[in-house]
């Protein structure tokens, strides 16, 4: 296991708060969606956390588990069904080349 200190050397200047924690744009996006839903009061954090723990136990890739947990939560809450989501994702996948970008 390697642990890269994001800064080295003595007495560095106070750092900017931001640091890269997302490995891909969709990770950043799914995080933002979740927090926006949370701030809107649509779920209690513990509800999400319980689902996240279960998903992480099934498979440890972190933000993939996070995304599955969010899907579950939205389905359970009746906000968005998995079927509807799958259909939309399939429709996006059929878009002509050049439109999708990541």
């Amino acid at each position: 296991m390697t642990l890269a200190l994001d800064e080295v050397g003595p007495a560095p200047p106070p750092r900017q708060n931001g640091e890269l924690v997302f490995a891909a744009p969709w990770e950043r996006e799914v995080f933002g969606i979740t927090m926006a839903l949370y701030e809107a009061g649509l779920f209690a954090w513990d509800e999400f956390r319980a689902l996240l723990i279960a998903e992480l136990q099934a498979s440890p890739a972190y933000y993939r588990a996070w995304a599955r947990a969010l899907e579950c939560l939205l389905d359970e809450k009746g906000l968005l069904s998995s079927t509807e989501l799958t259909e939309r994702a399939q429709a996006f996948a059929r878009r002509p080349h050049g439109h999708d970008h990541e």
Partner: protein
């Protein structure tokens, strides 16, 4: 574009269409976490505790309230507990089940914090893990491992480095970094005088 990226894009587009969320609120929140919330907040808390003994007592008694004095708070910070390193005790924070972490003072957790390896080894063999991470602690130092949860999130108050007598808070805050507040490192030491 990967399947997961498509799925997240689909998720967002449906939530926006249904009027549950707006794209601008999502972006605003992400930017907030990228720019306002991060380890510099925790560094300011630690530096205050190093220079103000009464603040330190308040911090150790009720950390959520003490960090709120400096203007920090929000989700994942309500149940904050600060644990103090001493010459005999070293504290290490982990979340064995997922990635509970005190966001308002440290920002979002680094990827290694979320790794299954860190989550298990921090509990099973903390001394060996710390040594591998470059923090070799002598056997006389007791290592206390704190498992964060939804109920309690921990922050380590590192020891103030020697040679910083008379330093002001902002200079001291520059010695405090994220890993020291998780407990996988010490605070930086000042550059020796030449």
């Amino acid at each position: 574009m990967s399947d997961i990226a498509l799925r997240v894009e689909a998720l967002e587009s449906l939530l926006v269409e249904k009027g549950i969320l707006s794209a601008s609120s999502i972006e605003r929140i992400i930017r907030h976490y990228e720019t306002n919330v991060g380890p510099l907040n925790g560094a300011k808390v630690v530096a205050r505790a190093w220079t103000d003994p009464e603040y330190k007592q308040r911090l150790l008694r009720n950390a959520a309230r003490a960090v709120a004095e400096l203007g920090f708070g929000g989700p994942q910070g309500e149940h904050l507990v600060v644990v103090e390193n001493t010459p005999r005790i070293h504290n290490l924070v982990v979340c064995t089940l997922c990635s509970c972490y005190p966001w308002p003072v440290l920002g979002l957790p680094p990827s290694w914090y979320k790794s299954p390896e860190y989550r298990s080894r921090a509990v099973k063999e903390p001394r060996k893990l710390l040594a591998e991470l470059g923090l070799a602690l002598s056997e006389e130092i007791e290592i206390r491992v704190w498992d964060s949860s939804a109920e309690i999130r921990y922050l380590v108050l590192p020891e103030r480095p020697a040679g910083t007598e008379g330093w002001n808070e902002s200079a001291l805050a520059g010695l405090v970094h994220r890993d020291a507040m998780i407990g996988v490192a010490r605070a930086f030491t000042p550059e020796p005088l030449r």
